[in-house]
Every structure is written in structure tokens, then in C-alpha cells.
């Protein structure tokens, strides 16, 4: 493990920002620290950077406990959510700042900055001030500035939060590529599930100061271990009792049922569907166009579920009676989440 946190606790007044947090990160990985606002993810990042001090517990980087090492000596690059670019310095001076502090020679600084400016694709904009750059460009400068002194660990606090949706997508890919190319161990904080899934090698999910689950994006998404994680991803429809949906096993102490849109198949009465027999009848209550498809709300057994259909499928309209088949559901009991499959999937089916 390259970065390790052991039993970290941190309070702000009565607020418990970190509750016995422990995890480890391998060298060269890109880690997404994911959680809703107030979950304590930024606090973790700031403690690793040395911007905050944990109440107790150890922070270990490269085998050394660094709790008492001053922030500036930890060899960490930090990208602030606001970027915190020095607005009275040019792009060049911003990137050069860390090198100047290290008393590098002018020629060395010039070479390194030129290299980085090229890397971030801002050649020719070295003499601009941050206010003359677009959001995406500022983010790249912040990235280059953090990288300039060759940090062993790069920390990014909500790196895409301040950028509009269109550029964000592009920057995500760019950042992932860039970090893979440089091989620098990185941790970024985000509250956006899509962002974490798309960008990170591994996701750490935080809730209320605790770590709920750590794992590869796909694993975390498809097999949530806690009630919180199960409900956090996707665009879940959440309701209490699933007993009306007959084809699922019972779980003792079940509290919540979580159904993601991709778990639901909605078909018109006239359409052919494999599990038509075990589908239940529902009524379409809303049809909305989303960029990638059509989103439906259907009322089944007194529960409203969200489902998706493609543009190429025959259209459905509000009030239409449809067949609704649910492949699987998450059921939570206490802090645990269970994945239940529709029993029909295991039964031999006769295609009509």
C-alpha cells in the first residue's frame, strides 16, 4: 500500500467528520472518493494533504507516518475545487510557483513549465491571467501547477464541479488519460456517481464520516454491500414493501426495496418479451425525453418505478397499460443490502 489511513477520527465541534476511517491505496492507482455532501470526503483529502489535522489515527505515505510532517514537505500536489489559481499571476507564473519556492534555476523552471503547458495543451497562453481563461482551461492550469514539482501523490477536490456539463465530460477523459500517462497516484473527491464510475480505478464510498464500501466501479455498482451504497447509485425507485411483487424471495427484516431503471423492462402489450408470463401490469404515468433515451414512470402494484426505453422502440404514451418485468431488486435490512433475482430468470421459459 502506498497511501494508508489507519483509524482516522476527526471532529469539527460536535460534528463527526471522520469516524474511524481506514483504507489503503496502491501506487499508481486513480481513486475516487465518493459520497454526498457532508459525508466527510473532502476532510479526508485535506487531512492527507496536511490542510487539516486528524484528532487521532495515522496517515502513512510510502511507509512513513506523516502526521507530523508539514503539508509542504509531504510531496503532494493538490488541486482545489475552486482551483485557487493565483489570479494576479500569469499561467506561466502559476505553474512556476512551486518550482520557484524550491529555488530551481530559471532555465529549469522554463523547461518544466514549457513541458507542462504543452502537456495541458495551452501552448501560447502562458502570459494570460486566470480571469482570461475558460473554466476548463483554468482546471488544466491548476492541474499543471500541482504537478510541476513532481509530486508523488496528487489530490483533487471536486475537480469538475465548477465546469459546465459539456466540457466536464471531455475533461474527465482527459484527466483519466493524463494521470494514466504520468502514473502518479491520485485521489479525487466527487459527489457525482457517474464521474466516479467513469474516471476512477477504484471507488471509496463514504457516508456520514464512515467508509461504506471500497471496490472497482463495476463491483460497487452491481453488488452494493450497504443500504446506503445500494440507494446511492443509479436513479433508484425506493419503496418499502416488495411482497406484492411475487417472484422474489423473502428477506428477514427487510426495510427498503430499491429498483434501478435498468432492472425494469417495460413492454407494450403488443410487444414480444421473454418473460411476458411473469410480468405484471402497470400504467404509464409519465414519459420524458432524456438525451440518451426515453424515461418512463410506471405505476405497478401501487409503486411508481422508473424505467427506460430506447428511441428505436415503439413509443408508449401516458395512461397506456404496459407489461412490467423486474429482473432484480435490492433489499436492505439494517445496514446490509441484498440482491434478489426474479425467480423467473431461473425457471425454464417457453418462448411463445
Amino acid at each position: 500500500m502506498y497511501v494508508e489511513l489507519k483509524n482516522i477520527n476527526k471532529h469539527f465541534g460536535n460534528f463527526k467528520a471522520s469516524d474511524n476511517v481506514s483504507f489503503g491505496i496502491e501506487k499508481g492507482k486513480l481513486i475516487g472518493l465518493l459520497g454526498p455532501s457532508g459525508s466527510g470526503k473532502t476532510t479526508i483529502l485535506r487531512m492527507i494533504a496536511g490542510l487539516e489535522t486528524p484528532d487521532n489515527g495515522d496517515i502513512i505515505i510510502d511507509g512513513k507516518v506523516i502526521n507530523n510532517v508539514p503539508a509542504s514537505k509531504r510531496g503532494i500536489g493538490f488541486v482545489f475545487q475552486s482551483y485557487a489559481l493565483f489570479r494576479y499571476m500569469t499561467v506561466f507564473e502559476n505553474i512556476a510557483f512551486g518550482l520557484r519556492v524550491l529555488k530551481k534555476s530559471d532555465s529549469e523552471i522554463k523547461d518544466r513549465v514549457a513541458e507542462l503547458v504543452k502537456l495541458i495543451g495551452l501552448d501560447g497562453l502562458e502570459n494570460r491571467y486566470p480571469s482570461q481563461l475558460s473554466g476548463g482551461q483554468r482546471q488544466r492550469v491548476a492541474f499543471a501547477r500541482a504537478l510541476a514539482p513532481n509530486p508523488q501523490l496528487l489530490l483533487l477536490d471536486e475537480p469538475f464541479a465548477a465546469i459546465d456539463a459539456k466540457v466536464r465530460q471531455e475533461l474527465r477523459h482527459w484527466l483519466k488519460e493524463m494521470i494514466a500517462k504520468l502514473g502518479v497516484t491520485s485521489i479525487f473527491v466527487t459527489h457525482d456517481q457517474d464521474e466516479a464510475i467513469e474516471v476512477a480505478d477504484e471507488i471509496i464510498i463514504m457516508n456520514k464520516g464512515r467508509i461504506d464500501q471500497i471496490g472497482k466501479p463495476l463491483d460497487v455498482y452491481s453488488t452494493p454491500k450497504t443500504a446506503f451504497v445500494a440507494s446511492f447509485f443509479g436513479q433508484p425507485s425506493i419503496f418499502k414493501d416488495y411482497s406484492k411483487f411475487r417472484r422474489f424471495d423473502a428477506v428477514e427484516g427487510a426495510e427498503q426495496t430499491i429498483v434501478r431503471p435498468e432492472f425494469v423492462k417495460v413492454t407494450k402489450k403488443t410487444e414480444v418479451q421473454k418473460f411476458k408470463n411473469s410480468a405484471e401490469e402497470g400504467v404509464v404515468t409519465d414519459v420524458a425525453f432524456r438525451g440518451s433515451g426515453i424515461e418512463l414512470s410506471v405505476l405497478v402494484n401501487g409503486v411508481t418505478l422508473t424505467a427506460r426505453r430506447g428511441f428505436d422502440e415503439p413509443s408508449v404514451s401516458v395512461g397506456e397499460k404496459v407489461d412490467v418485468f423486474i429482473y432484480r431488486i435490492f433489499v436492505t435490512a439494517g445496514d446490509n443490502a441484498y440482491l434478489l433475482e426474479n425467480k423467473s430468470l431461473r425457471e425454464p421459459v417457453v418462448v411463445i
Binding site: 475552486s82 489570479r87 524550491l102 486566470p130 480571469s131 501547477r145
Partner: protein, 277 residues
């Protein structure tokens, strides 16, 4: 703005009329009075009053007290702004209140407290005498009183600006290992430059014009502890109206200079802030 009706137009010009009348009567007329009274007996008399030995001495003392007040309040203002906006600590609220206290204290009381602290009634007075230090009825007292009445002028311009901006840039620089002074010089100061200058101008304006506090502490020693405003008072009370207004005209000139500087700084500061994200 929607369309103006006839009656709203009447209201508009009535309000403008009232405002202009008020400004002319209350603000412009006194200003003009100072100038006309000063030149009532011709330029020669004016020149004589302005170049009078006591006037020149009072001018230099005013300048000295103003300069010292600006310097001390600058050191204080920058320190307080840094301490109060960059760190969290217990007692911060109380400290902020204490800094603002002096502006609510009557100038007379401001003078009085220094009289009590360093004057004949003070327990430390014998000590001061042993060291041969004169504060009350001397220049140091004037300087202290001036600092007191202008105390929060610079810090209270800086603190809101720094608070509004947050500490991200400073933190980023510190993370890269920059030293405190480097951070201040390269990152913080460029941002507060205009607010700082604005504070300096306000501080200088009040310092050069301070009357009550200095009046109590100075002892009115002509040629020794007389500032320009005190000199004006003495002349006026001796019924030497023309010289009094002549000396006052110097202060009017300084005031106009300060108003122009203030406008320029405000304009530049606003322009600068617009460029920023």
C-alpha cells in the same frame, strides 16, 4: 425602469432639487465660505497667514502625526487582517469587536484616556518622569491619540475583502512550501492593494483633521504641540478670522485631495474587481 409618468417626473425633479439644495447649503457653502473668508483681505494677508512660522510648524506636526498614525495602523491593520481572516481561534469575535471600539468613543474621551494613562494622575507617571519621557502635552501623546481615533480604519477595509475571497490561494501556496512573507507579498497583497490604499486614505483624512482628542492631550503649546486644526481653533478664538480661515484652507485643500484620491481608488478597485472571476 418603466415609463415615467408626469407626476413621477415631478417627484423626480422635486427630490433632485431638495438633494441639490441640501448638498449646496450643508456641504458646498461651508467649503466656499472657508475660501472666501481666507482671501477676504487679499492674497498678501493670506500668504502671510499661511507662511507664518507657527502655521508651518503646525503643518509639519500634523504631517508627522498623520504619517505615524498611518504607519502604525498599517502594521496593525495588515497583522489583524491576516490573523483574523487566515486562522480560526477562540476569542476571535471579541478581538474583532475590540478593534472597532475606538470609533465609537468620543474624541474627547479618546484624549482623556491617554491623559489618565500617562498624565500626572497615572501610577506610571513617576516612572515616565524618571526616564524623562513626556507623553502628555507632547508629541507622543498627540500621535497616540491620533492612532486611537483612526485605529480600525485600515483593518476594517481589509478584513471584508479577505473574508469574501477565502484562503484557497494562500493554502495552495503554503502547500507548495512558500514562506509567509512570500505568500503575503505575491498572493495576498495584490488582491487587497486597493482596499488597503482606500483605508490609508481614510486613515490619513481622519488623522490630519482630528481635533477633539488632540485638543485634550496637546496642552495647546503654540509651535510645539499645535496641529493645524488646533492652530485654526486658537486663531479663531483670538478673533483672527482671516488667518484662521487661511490655515483652514490648507486643510480644505488636503480634504479635496483626499476626496479625489478616494474616488480614483474606488474607481480602480471596482474596475479591477470586474475583471476577476
Amino acid at each position: 425602469m418603466y415609463k415615467e409618468t408626469k407626476s413621477s417626473k415631478a417627484v423626480k425633479w422635486f427630490l433632485i432639487g431638495v438633494s441639490v439644495l441640501f448638498v449646496v447649503l450643508m456641504l458646498l457653502l461651508p467649503l466656499i465660505t472657508v475660501i472666501t473668508e481666507a482671501f477676504k483681505q487679499g492674497f498678501a494677508v493670506y500668504e502671510k497667514a499661511v507662511t507664518d512660522n507657527y502655521t508651518v510648524k503646525a503643518f509639519w506636526l500634523t504631517l508627522e502625526a498623520t504619517a505615524l498614525a498611518v504607519v502604525i495602523n498599517t502594521v496593525f491593520g495588515l497583522s489583524a487582517a491576516w490573523s483574523l481572516t487566515k486562522f480560526h481561534f477562540r476569542g476571535k469575535k471579541i478581538l474583532t469587536t475590540l478593534i472597532d471600539l475606538p470609533v465609537t468613543v468620543s474624541p474627547i474621551i479618546a484624549g482623556l484616556i491617554f491623559l489618565l494613562t500617562f498624565g500626572r494622575q497615572s501610577p506610571i507617571f513617576p516612572l515616565l518622569q524618571d526616564w524623562d519621557v513626556k507623553i502628555v502635552f507632547a508629541v507622543p501623546g498627540i500621535v497616540l491619540a491620533t492612532i486611537f481615533v483612526t485605529f480600525p480604519f485600515i483593518s476594517r477595509e481589509l478584513i471584508p475583502v479577505l473574508e469574501a475571497r477565502g484562503n484557497d490561494e494562500e493554502e495552495a501556496a503554503a502547500l507548495m512550501g512558500a514562506k509567509g512573507f512570500t505568500i503575503f507579498r505575491k498572493i495576498t497583497f495584490p488582491h487587497i492593494k486597493w482596499a488597503f490604499l482606500y483605508g490609508v486614505v481614510l486613515c490619513a483624512a481622519r488623522a490630519m483633521g482630528e481635533f477633539g482628542a488632540v485638543s485634550v492631550i496637546s496642552g495647546h503649546l503654540r509651535g510645539k504641540t499645535n496641529t493645524l486644526p488646533l492652530h485654526v481653533e486658537i486663531l479663531f478664538n483670538e478673533f483672527q478670522y482671516v488667518p484662521a480661515f487661511a490655515v483652514a484652507s490648507i486643510l480644505v485643500l488636503l480634504a479635496i485631495f483626499i476626496l479625489i484620491a478616494r474616488s480614483l481608488i474606488e474607481y480602480n478597485g471596482k474596475k479591477k474587481n470586474k475583471v476577476e472571476p
